[in-house]
Amino acid sequence: MLKLDDVVVHYGTVAAVKGISFEVDENEIVTLIGSNGAGKTTTLAAITGLHQPSTGTISFEGDRIDHLAPEKINALGIAMVPEGRRVFPQMTVLENMEMGAYLRTNAARIRHDMEEIYHHFPILKERRSQLAGTMSGGQQQMVAMARALMSGPKLLLLDEPSLGLSPIMTQEIAKIIRDLHREHGRTIVLVEQNARMALQLADHAFVMETGKIAFGGKADDLRHDAKIQETYLGV
């Protein structure tokens, strides 16, 4: 579904991503793990079009999407939950969700999807008139996820959804990700520093180190790999 081939991304003269390749198949959860500065967020920025790659190709459903603008990439069915939630703080929860559906025109379908999303995030229905900027970190994470889902995406990108959340809230977010995957067969790319959570959720995992994929494989195998346990799981 999504294919990156030797993608290089520069910030000025510094290469943050130094030629990475991986594939995401339909209905699977793929996770990118690795420490701060490994290039995970930059990789997502390249996929969404916010930061275009210097070389390499990115294709989605067979068509190249590198060099498309973010708004065009969203229209193809890729939705992003950015690092740090990035909710629209001065807008209500409902308005944030409406913005997620900005490109959609079928009002009945939008309403139907909204009800379905409320089923995963009941608190958002309760708080739909609250300004998103006044909510807790975990609730903002839910707003950001609900907003992304409102576009009816084929591929959902999640950037550090557990960042800054309490362990209980992290578990809740993990459960929602699992439900989204199980109930709707959603294809998800999950970027996480919390390798334990990510490896539990994912089908495939890639470990990034200093802009490159150090190794990858089935998430279950990686979870039991001695080196991964030592470096990323703190066992």
Partner: protein, 289 residues
């Protein structure tokens, strides 16, 4: 201050505040979406007055029709400015500043070339006479500004808070990158913002044409006041701009009545400074995370 003069001054304050609000809201909105100030905003106001001069005083159109013409004409100027100046200089704030400051001079000279520089253009007052309220006489032309401003601000509020594209404009002002991730085209939004910005400045100029000296340089005084209002209100806050406009309308009008216009300008700037000392983010501005 006797009661008649007091009522007169209050009415004048509200009228002044209404005009400040219509002008400043456009400036705040363009700044919110583009993070760049349009230094030719005062010249958009001037062009609005000239639209009324041309259509009403020269061509003999009815006054309301001439005023309405200012909305598409100056709105289109805003859109063209976005396309030719703001978009190419988006990554360079200084270039954008220089270019719009230059545009201000270009518009002044252009209008001067077409309709003359030295003489002030006289626009006859369409609504003669004055309302008589408790002994105070307030010219209808001045009174008219108030409902016009209320209608314009209400329409803008409705658009920003009830219409999808208006909400998208707010989203863009709050977080442009994240707005793009939702599929909101940033170029369309900046064009929309500049169109509304130009249209509101043009409308303000059009409404004031009969009671304000119409010259190519009439934008000068206005831009200063508009910036004071926008800074006081909180740069990107539309509601803040309206609040600050009304406050400044009262301050300017009362000080002008009791003393003189130069002192009023100084007191206005002092008010802005005082607000910034107490609330650096402006009256209704928010602190950036």
């Amino acid at each position: 201050m006797e009661i008649g003069l007091l009522i007169q001054t209050i009415a004048n304050s509200i009228a002044a505040g209404s005009i400040y609000a219509v002008i400043a809201v456009g400036l705040a909105m363009a700044f919110g979406v583009m993070k760049m100030a349009n230094f030719a905003h005062g010249e958009f106001f001037m062009c609005g007055a000239y639209v009324v001069y041309v259509f009403y005083a020269l061509l003999g159109w009815p006054f309301p029709a001439a005023v309405l013409m200012s909305i598409p004409i100056v709105g289109a100027m805003g859109v063209v400015t976005e396309r030719l100046i703001f978009r190419p200089t988006r990554s360079n704030v200084l270039a954008g500043f220089m270019a719009t400051a230059g545009l201000a001079f270009v518009l002044q000279v252009l209008v001067g070339q077409m309709w003359g520089v030295g003489l002030m253009r006289s626009v006859p007052t369409p609504y003669m006479g004055a309302a008589d309220i408790a002994g105070a006489k307030i010219g209808w032309q001045r009174v008219l500004v108030i409902p016009a401003a209320i209608v314009m601000l209400s329409a803008l509020w409705f658009f920003l808070y009830r219409v999808k594209h208006g909400k998208a404009l707010r989203a863009c002002a709050q977080d442009p990158d994240t707005a793009r991730l939702q599929g909101i085209g940033i170029n369309r939004m900046t064009m929309l913002a500049m169109g509304i910005s130009g249209a509101s400045a043009g409308l303000a100029g059009a409404l004031l044409a009969p009671i304000h000296p119409v010259t190519p340089y009439m934008g000068h005084g206005v831009i200063l006041t508009a910036f004071i209002v926008v800074v006081m209100g909180g740069m990107e806050s539309i509601a803040g701009a309206v609040l600050a406009a009304i406050l400044l309308g009262f301050v300017h009008t009362f000080v002008t009545t009791l003393s003189d216009a130069v002192t009023a300008q100084m007191v206005g700037v002092a008010c802005m400074a005082a607000v910034l000392v107490v609330r650096p983010q402006g009256l209704l501005g928010r602190v950036k995370a």
